[in-house]
């Protein structure tokens, strides 16, 4: 007999299934308190007891296996009586214990602990350990005296809590209060959408009060593949910026005296289109340019680059992928054929070995960071390659703490060790890679002592790392990387040499392994996908490719030249030189975020005409001629594409304030004023055109097919359900290519008089230039940027924790407070750029990757003036 029975219904148990799981499949509800699907069974509340014929005692459904032959009853009088008696017991206990504290603590901006309401189900502790991996909670005492506690003081504020909010979500009582959640209202709806912070692309469920147009709460969506109900402090809590008093609500036009006056949309758009078209007539198409917003939707990016290309006939379109993962995209495109991740986030849970290089996921991509942490806690080996001792380094089997910018050397060294040990996938190399022989010759030229010298990493550690890197026969390795590789002069080379390791181990194109760059912005992947690049149309089709031009001619009507346009850094140089006179900057604050701040500001000053499309009056807005108020991600419809190529639906939740409008709509209307005759009624129609324009990647994408988990491109047709693992049956470029390139110190290395290498980057609490997070309660967790310095270096410089000191590079100087950090290696410094008053990018300079044009944010020569 293969069946079991629950309340008379037959069911064939699945291997390893519990009674509770089987009951769920039969839609039979068994009550629980301490149980949650995403957690291991706790087995403490005993409410889920059921009777099984032949057993002398009831069984706990949550952790008892269901086997063929079992006859189970979930609602007999016996179990119902036991359950109600248990409830009585629990209630009696709650009424007799003295609560430890009667006032709700408010030391933390979002979370409060109210132990008087606690039922000791341990869901908070379990979700904190098993999902987020933060280990905040303890169980104190024994027997009836046990209680949940946090540290010594039972406060979130002084604990390792990162405010992900998972505990508040899962708590069945008021014991953990999420103070961000407002009360239910009479007219309330919940809308599912996609988070607009980072490139992970979590699915959010936003509850909104329809009467007051206010967000009541944001929760994770449990069945979403990307985040499975989990969120981070930014996505969950940092939304009060929506209602910030300084939102832009009206189009603004700069007057003669430099101040801004309110204007109507027709006025503003007319000014823009007439100025730009006139500029093109007089000075040529190359005198104008556009930066599409990597925070905005695919549809908005697509239309802006289409406007500039097909109406103004200019290829000067770019997006902030340029200054972040352009090296990654170029590298991957060159060696694999697709400039995007070959793997998906799900590969984390199938991985046999994870290598994280130049990324700090637990701070910058918290949900992915948590998933990596959990996989590693289960025993998967982890190698961390980073100049800083990031949180994940503490979980790693080996941390290669290299000198900033020396990745090419380190990866070449690892390649040599792997190859010499025979830890490679020869059949894969012979079958799928085109230049293995040549590469073997290159390997022989690599000198490990030189590598040790260049990188500062000892040979033993390198060997240990190599011994852990799994070849495909043992499951392959998942290579996760971030801006630490890309934002360097040898950025493209860094990613290409990392791909060498992916190819040597046969990891690319298999489940549980491959290349997984963590894209930064919520839609930087999408922005690039949409053709926001000077040399490529939508879908990475070269602007010179005849087939692409033919197709686009039909759809667009007119085309820009075959010559590529300028990248962002080149456009800024050109603006400074006066050859670019007009720019449309959509949702990017280049005055704060681009390198070499003085140069950027000078360039913006020089421009004749600047349009800025923004939600707040940013640093860049100071230089604008026209400012267009934009809708945020909770206020418009469209799609975002996350770092695993997943196109997900974005839905409006609240109305945008004042006269602000969705980006796509503004661009459409501007283009039409310039004679475009675009008739898109909604973003869905824009996506339909995108599918036509780049069918090889997006042919099967349409809003009707996006449903719950979106679609991962390539999705070439309606028969396709998207692609999780790319290059599965061979590289998209035909065969993969190994890269033979040596390490070369950058123009910021070995600068006499400037003994430190400065790394700029991000912290957990704030997002990028802080536009949104500085206007939410995140600021009470972190209210300024600190220069992180190794205590030994600080003591040598005779500076104390908290001192304000001057930091100088060859490009500029700033004053900033320091913070002692043992995570920072000697002779390196770390500085975030979340607060405009820090002027972090005064320090960064013109160093660029010549191939990708990506700036070197990750290594700038500086000195300290004490």
């Amino acid at each position: 007999m293969s069946e079991a029975f629950i309340n008379g219904q037959a069911i064939t148990p699945l291997s390893g299934e519990t009674i509770l799981e089987a009951a769920k499949r039969l839609s039979i509800d068994i009550p629980t308190i301490c149980h949650a699907e995403q957690l291991h069974p706790e087995g403490g509340c005993r409410i889920c007891l059921v009777e099984c014929e032949g057993e002398d005692r009831p069984m706990a459904a949550c952790h008892s296996a269901i086997n063929p032959g079992m006859i189970i009853h979930t609602d007999t009088e016996k179990v119902e009586t036991l359950r109600s008696q248990l409830h009585e017991l629990y209630d009696h206990h709650r009424h007799t214990i003295t609560p430890c504290s009667t006032t709700t603590q408010e030391t933390h901006p979002y979370l409060s602990l109210n132990l008087a309401a606690c039922v000791d189900c341990r869901l908070c502790l379990n979700v904190c350990e098993q999902v987020q991996g933060q280990f905040v909670f303890s169980v104190s005492g024994r027997g009836a005296k046990k209680k949940i506690s946090i540290g010594d003081l039972d406060t979130f504020a002084d604990s390792p809590c990162v405010a992900c909010g998972a505990c508040a979500d899962i708590c069945p009582t008021d014991a953990i209060i999420n103070r961000d959640v407002l009360n239910h209202s009479a007219h309330q709806k919940t809308v599912r959408s996609t988070c607009g912070y980072c490139g992970v692309g979590c699915q959010i469920a936003v509850a909104v009060d329809e009467d007051t147009n206010q967000v009541l709460s944001i929760e994770g969506v449990n069945d979403a593949l990307v985040n499975k109900g989990h969120l981070c402090a930014k996505g969950r809590f940092s939304h009060s910026y929506l209602k910030s008093g300084d939102r832009l609500t009206q189009p603004l036009i700069k007057t003669a005296d430099g101040s801004f006056k309110e204007a109507t949309w027709p006025e503003a758009l007319k000014l823009i289109t007439s100025t730009l078209t006139q500029m093109v007539k007089t000075h040529g198409s190359s005198s104008v340019g556009a930066f599409t917003s990597s925070r905005s939707t695919n549809e908005a990016c697509y239309l802006l680059q289409k406007f500039f290309r097909s109406i103004l006939l200019s290829n000067n379109v770019d997006c902030c992928a340029r200054v972040c993962h352009s090296s990654t995209a170029l590298a991957l495109q060159l060696v694999t054929g697709t400039g995007a991740a070959s793997s998906s986030y799900q590969d984390i849970e199938s991985s046999s070995c994870i290598l994280v290089a130049g990324a700090n996921p637990t701070e910058a991509h918290p949900i992915v960071g948590a998933r990596i942490k959990q996989q590693v806690l289960k025993g998967t080996p982890l190698i961390v390659i980073d100049p800083r001792e990031i949180e994940l380094a503490e979980y790693a089997d080996v941390h290669l703490q290299l000198i900033p910018g020396t990745n090419v050397a380190l990866f070449n060294g690892l390649a040599k060790i792997l190859h010499d040990n025979g830890d490679i996938d020869e059949p894969y190399l012979l079958e799928r890679i085109e230049n293995y022989e040549e590469f073997k010759g290159f390997i022989e030229t690599i000198s490990l002592p030189e590598i040790v010298d260049s990188t500062g990493v000892d040979l033993e550690s390198m060997k240990k790392a190599a011994s852990l890197i799994c070849s495909s026969q043992a499951g392959g390795t998942l290579f996760v990387h971030g801006l630490g590789l890309s934002e360097l002069e040898q950025g493209t080379a860094s990613v290409m040499t990392l791909c060498n390791l992916g190819m040597l181990t046969g990891s690319i194109g298999k489940l549980g392994s491959g290349m997984l760059p963590l894209r930064g912005q919520n839609n930087v992947q999408g922005s690039a996908d949409m053709g926001s690049m000077p040399d490529q149309f939508t879908g990475y089709q070269s602007v010179a490719d005849p087939a692409a031009r033919q197709r686009l001619q039909k759809i667009w009507g007119s085309l820009p030249p075959e010559e590529p346009g300028l990248t962002i850094p080149e456009m800024i140089d050109a603006a400074a030189a006066g050859s670019i006179r007009g720019l449309w900057i959509q949702g990017e604050d280049i005055a704060q975020s681009d390198p070499n701040e003085s140069h950027v500001r000078a360039a913006l000053e020089t421009l004749d005409f600047l349009v800025v499309q923004e939600i707040f009056f940013s640093e860049t807005c100071h230089f604008a001629d026209v400012i267009l108020p934009a809708a945020s991600y909770l206020e418009q419809e469209g799609t975002f594409t996350n770092g695993e190529r997943r196109i997900q639906h974005v839905k409006p939740v609240v109305a945008s304030p004042g006269e602000s409008l969705p980006d796509w709509l503004v661009v459409r209307d501007a283009a039409n004023l310039a004679g475009a005759q675009w008739s898109y009624q909604n973003p869905s129609e824009v996506m339909d055109e995108i599918a036509e324009v780049a069918p090889h990647l997006f042919g099967g994408v349409s809003y009707s097919r996006l449903d719950q988990n979106g679609l991962q491109w390539p999705c070439p047709s309606y028969e396709s359900s998207g692609t999780a693992t790319v290059h599965g049956s061979g590289f998209l470029r035909g065969k993969g290519a190994l890269t033979t390139i040596d390490y070369r110190p950058s123009s910021e290395h070995h600068i006499s008089g400037y003994p430190y290498l400065l790394i700029t980057g991000r912290t957990l609490h704030h997002y990028n230039v802080g536009t949104m997070t500085r206007r939410s309660r995140q600021s009470s967790l972190s209210s300024r940027d600190f220069l992180e310095i190794n205590p030994k270096d600080a003591k040598r410089e005779k500076i104390k924790d908290g001192d304000i000191i001057t930091v100088q590079s060859r490009w500029g100087q700033i004053a900033v407070p320091i913070k002692y950090s043992t995570r920072t290696a000697p002779n390196t410094l770390f500085l975030s750029f979340h607060f405009p008053e820090t002027h972090t990018n005064q320090l960064t300079g013109p160093a660029l990757d010549p191939m990708s044009k990506c700036p070197q944010y990750k290594a700038t020569a500086v000195r300290l003036l004490v």
């Binding site: 009831p58 027997g143 637990t362």
Partner: protein, 551 residues
């Protein structure tokens, strides 16, 4: 200068949280590290907690949970050796009210300390009364009792070296059993033990060969064998006697087991209430190591002695494993069973001390010889222990199938008329004199509704205050309940409340219902069996207990 800014948690050092998973491969057992730290420093402050957490490779929050769980840690001060602990076990409880305190200074100190509640349950010296622990040794405020050692079985097994020896120092051993085992194969050893019918003596009575086989069959690069010396049943002291008087049999049994299941590491877990036993087994282990028994050409097993920290529930195998891992001594959900996933997730067998002492005999004399003794389902012998309520208290080894009466007679009968004997500790049963013909045998006893448990026998005089014993029994349950599941932790406390309030007409029903609830819904044997035993006790003595004057 800016004002200090709250620490950014993402920059705080948390090496302990990070290395959590590597507890799985730890070289030193977390429990040993924690014990040593607390022994030297007392409970840690914030900085100490961070560094201790790093050493045991656990998150700080987890370590806090652990430190708050164990009785030994929650009252710790650096000069703990000077602390006295009075025995609060059932045997001493049943006598302490009647005996006067002795007058020496040390004992007056004990008297004061016991009123402050620094007790232990139990110290395992039940053959004498009014025991207390001071300076790592057990003393008594009454006369020091003599412990008899007898064997009624045709061939002594566990008492074979103790009877011959005069108890001045531990028995020696040639490890002949181990030598024989090493000449055979692990599979054959497991077969032999299986054929012998040996069952776990700690109380669960699970067939030892079956357990060893399950462990040996789980593929793994590492297995563990653990000797369970957490003999916590009040009234039980057989394991302590074996550890102190015949440590080498314990070690030999462990090593044979290690060989059979393929365990290269072994642990002998001894409760902290048995400091002498721990000292003696450590010394014996050193002798065995020096003699080359732990490591030679055929076989190698590293054995570590780990001390408990004051938790009865840690006698349960999964709670014991949690304790070694530096976690709270709470019971784990099963499956997976320890033979599949035990210490640090590796296949593990946990065997009782008395069980292990049977192993060398079986190997030396054969399974068939062993099976000649006992009954069809319970083969071999069981060592019972009698408390001071009997004329000749001490341990008595009997063949399974021997009627209880025969053992009671060998113990000289009771000193005063008995209402019943308490067999098998708090999770055991009550047996009135009309049932003393019950054979000592798992099945035969179960058939009569009795539980042999670990075989401790406490005299319950007719004159004993039955209601007081009830209160004592339930307060033991409430103290020791681990807290993992609600019915036991909350229910035990509630039952104490009920029995400490004046009786009313519903008290008995309330108590019965509550005990039934706890017994039906609890997660582990502790929560299932204590209520059963108390219910049986209530059944026998309800008239005496529920009269108004007994409240």
């Amino acid at each position: 200068m800016p004002s200090p800014h709250p620490p950014n948690p993402s920059n705080q050092r948390q090496p302990s949280a990070a290395a959590y998973r590597r507890t799985r491969d730890g070289k030193e057992y977390p429990a040993s590290i924690i014990q040593q730290y607390i022994g030297e420093n007392g409970l840690p402050d914030a900085a100490g907690l961070a560094s201790l957490a790093a050493r045991v490779q656990l998150p700080e929050s987890t370590l806090r949970s652990t430190l708050s769980y164990y009785a030994d840690y929650t009252n710790k001060s650096p000069s703990s050796a000077a602390h006295s602990k009075a025995c609060n076990g059932t045997s001493c409880f049943l006598s302490s009210k009647d005996k006067p305190r002795a007058t020496s200074e040390a004992t007056t100190e004990v008297a004061t300390k016991t009123t402050q509640g620094d007790c232990a349950s139990c110290l395992g010296h039940c053959y004498q009364e009014n025991n207390y622990l001071h300076d790592n040794e057990v003393h008594t405020t009454a006369e020091t009792g003599e412990m008899a050692t007898q064997c009624l079985a045709p061939t002594p097994v566990t008492t074979r070296r103790i009877i011959a020896n005069n108890a001045t120092k531990p028995a020696t051993s040639s490890y002949a059993g181990l030598q024989l085992a090493l000449q055979s194969s692990p599979q054959k050893i497991i077969e032999t033990i299986t054929n012998s019918g040996l069952r776990g003596r700690g109380g669960a009575a699970f067939p030892s060969g079956k357990k060893w086989k399950a462990c040996a069959s789980t593929a793994s690069n590492q297995r563990y064998i653990i000797a369970n010396g957490n003999e916590g049943d009040a009234g039980s002291y057989v394991d302590r006697v074996l550890l102190e008087r015949d440590p080498h049999s314990v070690i030999e049994g462990l090593l044979i087991g290690a060989y059979a299941i393929g365990a290269s590491k072994g642990v002998i877990y001894i409760r902290s209430e048995y400091p002498t036993a721990a000292r003696i087994i450590e010394a014996a282990l050193k002798e065995a190591r020096d003699a080359g028994h732990l490591k030679n050409d055929h076989f190698s097993c590293e054995v570590t002695v780990i001390q408990g920290a004051g938790s009865f529930v840690c006698g349960e195998e999964t709670a014991l494993i949690n304790a070694i891992e530096g976690l709270r001594g709470e019971v784990r959900l099963r499956p997976p069973y320890p033979t599949e996933s035990g210490l640090f997730g590796k296949p593990t067998t946990v065997d009782n001390i008395e069980t292990l002492c049977n192993i060398p005999f079986i190997i030396e004399h054969s399974a068939e010889t062993y099976k000649l003794m006992g009954t069809a389902t319970s083969s071999g012998t069981k060592t019972l222990c009698f408390n001071h309520g009997f004329v000749r208290p001490g341990i008595i080894e009997v063949e399974f199938g021997t009627p209880l009466q025969a053992a009671i007679d060998a113990a000289g009968g009771s000193k005063s008329p008995l209402a019943a004997i308490l067999l098998g500790g708090p999770m055991g049963c009550v047996i009135t004199p009309d049932q003393w013909d019950t054979p000592v045998c798992y099945e035969a006893m179960q058939a009569r509704g009795f539980d042999l448990g670990h075989g401790s026998i406490i005299a319950l005089p007719k004159s004993a205050d039955k209601a007081a014993l009830l209160r004592h029994w339930l307060s033991f349950m409430a103290d020791e309940s681990c807290g993992k599941c609600e019915p036991c932790s909350l229910g035990s406390k509630r039952s104490c409340q009920i029995v400490n309030e004046p009786w009313h007409e519903n008290s008995q029903q309330q108590l019965d219902d509550l005990l039934h609830l706890i017994g039906q819904t609890s997660l582990c044997a502790f929560g299932r069996e204590i209520p059963r035993a108390v219910s049986q006790y209530l059944d026998v003595f309800q008239d005496e207990i529920f009269t108004p004057k007994s409240s």
